[in-house]
Amino acid sequence: MIAERQESSEGLTIRPDDSGHSNAREKTEGTGSVGTEKLTPELTDFIIRWRDKPGNLIMVLHRIQETYRYIPRAIAFQVADLLRVPLARIYGVITFYHFFRLKRPGRHLISVCMGTACYLRGAEDLIQELETLLGTGLNTVTEDGEFSVEAVRCLGCCGLAPVLTVDGQVYGRMTKEHLADILAKYGGQSLSAK
């Protein structure tokens, strides 16, 4: 039982080459299938530990997103069972809070701060330049599944505005000119060469 779970959880670790998988998932979602992810034993334990605490849902969703980087539909179903709450409530919460994602982001997630300090210091230009470099807009994934760009509210580093993060690493005092180099660091050479 446990071995089986581990197996499926392994299949979930996000690898550079699993972009095709994400496309396939997108399609199957359209036809009503819910995907095949299974909760890892650690997550199951976590949920059971929190099950009787009031107000647990948001904390559980955080933990799930930490693991999968978004909230897979199959997992939402299992959470509903374990916590004994209706699926509709889970989706009600996920869709209310900006932090939770329903789609798998690219392998590297670029978050550009659009808080006031960053806005005044040219954050919009950064987003535009990223769109040009990556050939894809906000909240979408590049064709190769490598990058996605999202706009976020203040990251709390306003003294360094404009700021962006790549996979959580903070880059401050950004200008358009820095972006190609940063993408290259994360394996985006072909893009910056364009």
Partner: protein
């Protein structure tokens, strides 16, 4: 082990957390390799507030401040300064300012500041409870437990005049009395660390730099009102603050300062974290409570106030991080002392995140009653690039724009309210001549429309209409009637919205119509954007009398819409120009103009 020297490395995430870590490691390595680790300690502290120059390193006891320090600089600083006592002038802060002020408290940035809330930030290792205790940490809790009755705590708070720092400025003692007086088997203390104002990070720095101060204050609140459980509701976007709070809670439990029978007093109190999930409205107290309860964060009408009916229907005190961080100091030094700082109605200090077009952006703490001019020009060093000050916005999306004419207003809750702004939680954004007031108004309304929970029609519909009107004006299609409409809808929102988000959403626009009517007139009647920010109202052209035909602009134009031969006058094809401003930036002869 007694250390004689300390190397304090700023560890706020403002400098990029791993930068700080690398720096710390570099110093530790150097000091160990040079055999100085017996008497020199490297401490990773919270944010010094001086983010523009980060990462910052300070050497104690002589208080030399080094700025923009890189890991490669560690060797030189350790060898020259720590071992031989010769400061490295190349990196020392005073060098650039060409002033002979080397001491932290002596430099212009810190001169007008007064630190109560940030008393420990930058001085202690936030991951060490011993450091906190060494600076009188938990002494206030001990005093409250063994020497004071709950009514003494209230009396002290009342005398201090402390008001909520989360925005509204409600007297803290009154909130506590409400909850204290309600009989109930359970009561709760909530720390609001949601910090939703985009462009503000005061609470984050306090939590990262001095997490125990908030825990201590929550325990004091619990003892006073009769609560045994506290929650800290913190933004998920602040991973470092979350980590440090978790460490602090664990340490406090180990030391018997949280948990059962605290210090043998018979008082039980514990604290748990709850994470926010990126919804601005969850900073509002009833929405926050709904969110801790695991629901969508929708506000509910008040009364009943949370002080009486809050979390899970029980009486609940909700205080902001900064409000709480003041409380241990008030208990130790007395309400009278605290009340002697500030203005008639607003006591103590206020922390601001000073950002935007100011030279020294960073975190500052000043006594209430300090003027905006002192903050922006003395502490902040004035406007970047020698440009002209246009406006300052306090209170973020709920606040208003303050023009140059009011720079000398002493800041307190009432004076800012009279100007059509609010104190807010401490965001202070400075704008210069390149910023367009209408565009900034639109930016904030886009934010509030996006963050509206949609529960009540005034906010849901009215906010959207205001945003559409502003968009129309920035496109050059506005009319005088649109301005009347903005006013009417704005006033309706203030009156009819269910929660503070909708009630304050029109503040930026209404304050701009009052203080900057000329900017609206320029957009509407002259179809011009004075700051050249609203692209539909800007055209780029080359002044024939100034152009020498150097071709630079043509080579930089991303859409190749500038034509002209070498040494001949160049021309922009306005139909194809995308108004990127590149030509304006690169021309060395001021031959490109816009308007």
């Amino acid at each position: 082990m007694a250390f004689k020297k300390f190397v304090l490395v700023c560890g706020g995430e403002g400098c990029g957390s791993d930068l700080g870590t690398n720096l710390c490691d570099a110093f530790r390595r150097e000091i160990r390799d040079r055999g100085a680790d017996q008497d020199t300690q490297v401490v990773r502290t919270g944010c010094f507030g001086f983010c523009r120059k980060g990462p910052v390193v300070k050497i104690l006891p002589d208080e030399t401040l080094y700025v923009n320090v890189k890991p490669d600089d560690a060797a030189e600083i350790v060898f020259e300064h720590v071992l031989r006592g010769r400061p490295v002038t190349r990196l020392r802060y005073d060098q650039e300012e060409s002033r002979r002020l080397t001491r932290l408290e002596g430099s212009a940035f810190y001169h007008k500041q007064f630190r109560i809330v940030l008393r420990n930030c930058g001085y202690i290792d936030p991951e060490s409870i011993d450091d906190y205790i060494a600076r009188d940490g938990y002494a206030a809790l001990e005093k409250v437990l063994f020497e004071m009755k709950p009514q003494d705590v209230i009396a002290e708070l009342r005398e201090s005049g402390l008001r909520g720092r989360g925005g509204a400025g409600f007297p803290t003692w009154r909130k506590w009395v409400f909850t204290k007086e309600v009989p109930s088997d359970e009561k709760y203390i909530i720390c609001n660390a949601d910090e939703g104002d985009p462009g503000a990070y005061m609470d984050r720095s306090t939590l990262e730099g001095d997490p125990h101060s908030v825990l201590e204050a929550m325990a004091i609140a619990g003892r006073t009102v009769g609560a045994r459980q506290g929650y800290i509701y913190i933004r998920a976007e602040y991973p470092l603050a979350i980590k440090r709070l978790e460490i602090a809670i664990t340490q406090a439990r180990e030391y018997g300062l949280l948990g059962r029978d605290i210090l043998g007093s018979g008082f039980d109190f514990d604290i748990e974290l709850r994470l926010g999930a990126g919804a601005f409205v969850c900073g509002e107290e009833t929405a926050l409570i709904a969110s801790i309860e695991g629901k969508r964060g929708m506000p509910i009408p008040r009364p009943p106030f949370p002080a009486v009916r809050g979390l899970w229907g029980k009486p609940t005190v909700i205080n902001n991080v900064e409000t709480l961080a003041n409380i241990p100091v008030i208990m130790l030094r007395g309400g009278k002392w605290f009340g002697s700082i500030g203005t008639a109605t607003s006591k103590g200090t206020k922390v601001f995140a000073l950002t935007g077009k100011v030279v020294n952006s960073g975190l500052i703490e000043v006594p209430m009653g300090t003027t905006l001019r002192e903050i922006i020009f003395d502490i902040g060093g004035g406007i970047k690039g020698g440009k002209k000050f246009k406006a300052a916005q306090t209170g973020g999306p709920s606040g208003g724009l303050i023009p140059a004419a009011y720079l000398d207003t002493p800041i307190d809750y009432e004076s800012l309210g009279a100007l059509g702004s609010i104190m807010g939680s401490g965001g202070l954004i400075v704008m210069d001549e390149d910023d367009c007031i209408v565009d900034v108004n639109k930016f904030y309304l886009e934010f509030t429309v996006d963050e509206s929970c949609g529960k009540c029609a005034p906010c849901r519909v009215g906010g959207r209409s205001m945003f559409n009107l502003l968009t129309k004006i920035t496109k050059g299609q506005g009319t005088d009637e649109d301005v009347d409409q903005l006013r009417i809808i704005g006033h309706a929102l203030q009156k009819a919205s269910l929660c503070g988000l909708g009630q304050t959403a029109p503040n930026p626009v209404l304050s701009a119509l009052r203080h900057f009517p000329e900017e609206y007139i320029a957009h509407i009647r002259d179809k011009k954007c004075p700051a050249s920010k609203c692209l539909d109202l800007v055209t780029y052209y080359i002044l024939p009398e100034k152009c020498i035909g150097c071709t630079l602009c043509a080579r930089h134009c991303p859409v190749n819409c500038i034509s002209g031969e070498r040494r001949k006058i160049h021309v922009i094809d306005a139909a194809r120009c995308i108004k990127c401003g590149e030509c304006y930036r690169v021309c060395k002869f001021e031959a490109v103009s816009r308007g």
